[in-house]
Amino acid sequence: MRVAYYKGCLASLSAKELDISTQALAPKLGLELVELESVTCCGAGDIQQAEPDYYLHLNARILAYAEAQGCDTLLTICNVCTLNLRQANFQIQKDEALRERVSANLSAVGAPPYSGGVDVQHFLWLIAQGDGYEKLKEVAHHGLKGLKIAPFYGCQILRPSKLLGVDDPDRPHTLEAVIAACGGEAVDYPAKVKCCGFPIIQAREEMALAELIQPIEQAMEAGADAMVTPCPLCHLSLDAWQQKLEKQTGRSFDMPILHLSQLVGVAAGLSDSELKFKRHVVSMKPVLEKLDV
């Protein structure tokens, strides 16, 4: 399957390990990634909340470049990119006057026009159902040796479900399906569908930490060896800000956090240099020891 690949800001820089492991994994899963060179940030919800019309144009431009590459699917690896692109796409596809204005503006600056022919799909959705799931089961034969994994969905891959629509927002199952296919055991806990606090972690740190502690604490109580998330923003929050929680509460969590592509990557036998666990703040050592890697 040939798909346009939109990695977004974090995977380009601070979460490079997500991009590297995704690129290493893709061919094994039958995904041909067409990298988009001329694209920009999706705005992360911030541009929508500051200059909504500019937000629409930036996202239309990303979709237009995917369309110009002859791709009908745009692959995302971040919850926030997924929602921003799907929301803009939905508005543009359903509103002809808007589509015409945006397309004309794109042409005026020298970008390709956008006719509305691209579907935005998160990596998780492609590997948790249909053919992708069958491929995943073949690839993940190295297994996770029954490792207990806490799935953490985050918000913008579940809600608003009218724009996302793959998982049931209150009863999601895709991450559990992937964990099972990789030979891990998914542990259950209520906060797996709640917010990690990242969007307000700089402007309202205290509130964000009050949100962040819930999934980490609950995953620990549920006996998880590690957590996995499909979103690099959740990853940054869970992994890097965990030390702030430890300072605040005087407790130690030491909960390793995996990107989805790393979880599948371990099960698919990717090498150290493709997984790049050293780029995590919380050490992955206990997990790797259990796996005997």
């Binding site: 808007l98 913008q156 809600r159 608003p160 009050a210 949100e211």
Partner: protein, 368 residues
């Protein structure tokens, strides 16, 4: 059909809490509210819940079914009963419980009042010869969805920000605020935006989208909050760190294309506060989480996104209208068939798959 319910009862006098199971025979078209009425009428007259219109307009019967806020009168029980599932019914979250399913709405009303939910006339007298000023359909479209609110509180129940900060105005009050900020007849737009941009306002929203998911009337409160942010920034109201954070994304998009991550922190929090946190930053830097700002990571053809910004500015779509566009077309995207099949196989009410209600003292085994 036989319908079973497990209801979290709460006795105010003894402060005792108990999960009671009921089963009644109900007609196939029965809603959750109908079933509760049958329980109260035939089984247990002491059960307390609020109700009035029974037709999704009074907003009285907000409560949780399996951890998710619903209007009881809008929730049909046929599928649930057919699946043999006995749902857990409890009071809404983020509000104090009075008795059984009844919550104290006072904190909710206080926040609604705080946004001055009335028009402060600011229009000019009609021109001589005209009898009245007419508000156009286009002007009303901006606040159409916000006007649909029935004040039921379902959006507040699972609000993650309000859980973290009970003083947060929350989705209902902010959507109400937008309803008046966007009203063409109102003369206090800037003053309102100033107030709503204070702490506990617009920039406290963590964008969890629970409000959007729960609202039974399609108000889409999170979108209303985004509209308020856009209107405030348009008016130059950007003192809050949240506004500065948002503006840096715009600046990044038009200068390098990609987010200038490392500069985002001082641009949001200011240099002084950033320096206070330098130890934290150093630890992140050790793992490559603080990418050096120089040389900047620049997207190819970034001049296009800069020119787009100029064009968009010239076309001058009102901030809020950027979010309204196309919104009327919003409908529910149906899941793919194979997703449906997988969900059906798994069963719609898999164990422990609901967010746990989080009212103080409500940490019992409420998930099924």
């Amino acid at each position: 059909m036989q319908v079973g319910l497990k209801v979290w009862r709460f006795d105010t006098k003894t402060a005792e809490r108990a999960l009671k199971e009921y089963e009644v025979d109900a007609p196939e078209e029965a809603t959750l509210l109908d079933v509760l009425d049958l329980v109260k009428d035939k089984v247990d007259g002491s059960l307390a819940y609020r109700r009035s219109c029974r037709m999704m307009i009074c907003g009285s019967c907000g409560m949780r079914m399996d951890g998710a806020a619903v209007l009881a009168c809008k929730t049909r029980m046929y599928d649930v009963a057919q699946a043999g599932h006995v749902p857990v019914i409890s009071a809404m979250g983020n509000l104090p419980v009075v008795k059984d399913l009844v919550v104290d709405m006072q904190p909710f009303w206080d926040k609604i009042r705080a946004v001055k939910p009335w028009v402060e006339p600011g229009y000019e007298a009609p021109a001589p010869g005209d009898k009245e000023n007419v508000v156009s359909a286009e002007q009303m479209a901006t606040i159409h969805k916000e006007s649909l609110c029935i004040l039921c509180g379902c959006c507040v129940s699972e609000c993650n920000s309000m859980e973290a900060n009970p003083d947060f105005l929350g989705p209902a009050a902010l959507a109400k605020g937008m309803r008046f900020v966007g009203d063409a007849r109102d003369g206090q737009t800037v003053e309102r935006l100033e107030e709503l941009s204070e702490p506990n306002g617009v920039w406290d929203c963590t964008r969890c989208y629970f409000c959007q998911e729960r609202c039974p009337k399609g108000v889409d409160p999170r979108d209303a909050i985004a509209k308020l942010g856009a209107e405030a920034i348009r008016e130059g109201i950007d003192r809050d760190m949240g506004a500065k954070h948002a503006k840096w994304f715009v600046k990044s998009a038009k200068t390098t294309g990609w987010l200038r991550e490392t500069e985002l922190v001082p641009k949001t929090q200011g240099v002084v506060r950033t320096l206070k946190d330098v130890k934290f930053g150093m630890k992140l830097a050790k793992h490559g989480k603080v990418p050096p700002p120089f040389p900047p990571h620049v997207a190819k053809d970034v001049d296009e996104s800069r020119s787009l910004h100029d064009i968009v500015k010239k076309q001058d779509q009102r901030g809020a209208q950027g979010i309204v566009q196309g919104e009327r077309a919003l409908g529910r995207i149906e899941p793919h068939h194979d997703t449906y099949a997988a969900a059906a196989e798994r069963g719609p009410y898999g164990p422990g798959s609901f967010p746990k209600p989080y009212l103080p003292g409500e940490e019992g085994e409420e998930t099924t």
